[in-house]
């Protein structure tokens, strides 16, 4: 990691500071420290969020998948017929 820019900046009347035009990221994680420092860490926003339960279940499914354990093939036509039924 090397320093590529350093500048004195001043917040405007609405507490905004403009980032340099060549900053590549749109999302940042802001960290504010008790000594006054404010840090912006670039973030790639991948998707909304995911529940812990779903994530835990996926980890378990992948563990089984890696050991060759998966369920039997689904009967696609039967599932589709159920999806199409009225009521």
């Amino acid at each position: 990691m090397s320093l590529v820019a350093e500048a004195d900046v001043k917040k405007d009347s609405r507490n905004r500071i403009t980032l340099p035009a060549d900053v590549k990221y749109e999302h940042f994680r802001m960290k504010r420290y008790d000594d006054g420092r404010i840090e912006l860490l670039p973030q790639l926003l991948v998707d909304a969020t995911i529940s812990r339960k779903s994530l835990r279940e996926m980890d378990e499914a992948i563990g089984n998948f890696n050991e060759g354990r998966v369920g039997d093939a689904l009967d696609i036509e039967a599932l589709e017929a159920l999806a199409d039924q009225s009521n």
Binding site: V46, I50, L55, E60, A61, F65, L74
Partner: protein, 140 residues
């Protein structure tokens, strides 16, 4: 050529069996019934074409990183249960274990979470890697 779709175990297998049996018997509540129909339609579309436009299928890189090991890369994908509406439900899947096979590994919202709107969630955002930074730099 159609893909073979298999449920991951234990969660997806149990949930699909529960929803299937519930639809057959007519014992699901209205929300589960609606959800089951969307899920089964999505699975059918996935079997025909994993990148069917309505599914909006795309790789979720943090899941790929999570699922992959040093000697094996496993890409994690997500598809929407409802076109343009990620909040309506998302299905997570990977290719394999055989050719032309898709394994369903997760569902969002999780069956237990569907009954509780205030559940614990994890943000899938992350710091870009040095390689990604270099690639973006080159693309500019």
């Amino acid at each position: 050529m159609q893909f073979k779709v298999v449920p991951g175990i234990p969660g997806m297998k149990e949930e699909i069996e529960r929803l299937k049996a519930g639809l057959e018997r007519g014992s699901l509540d209205k929300n589960d019934q609606k959800f089951a129909k969307k899920l089964f339609k999505t699975i059918a579309n996935l079997a025909r074409d994993p990148f069917h436009p309505g599914l909006h299928s795309h790789e979720i890189e943090p899941l790929t990183q999570r699922f992959s090991s040093e000697n094996r890369s496993v890409k994690g994908f997500q598809s929407y249960l409802e076109n343009q509406t990620p909040s309506a439900g998302r299905l997570f899947w990977v290719y394999g274990r055989e050719r032309q096979m898709i394994t369903l590994v997760g569902l969002e919202p999780h069956p237990e979470d569907r009954k509780n709107s205030a559940y614990a969630r994890v943000e899938l955002s992350r710091m870009p890697t040095a390689k990604e930074l270099a690639e973006e730099e080159r693309a500019r």
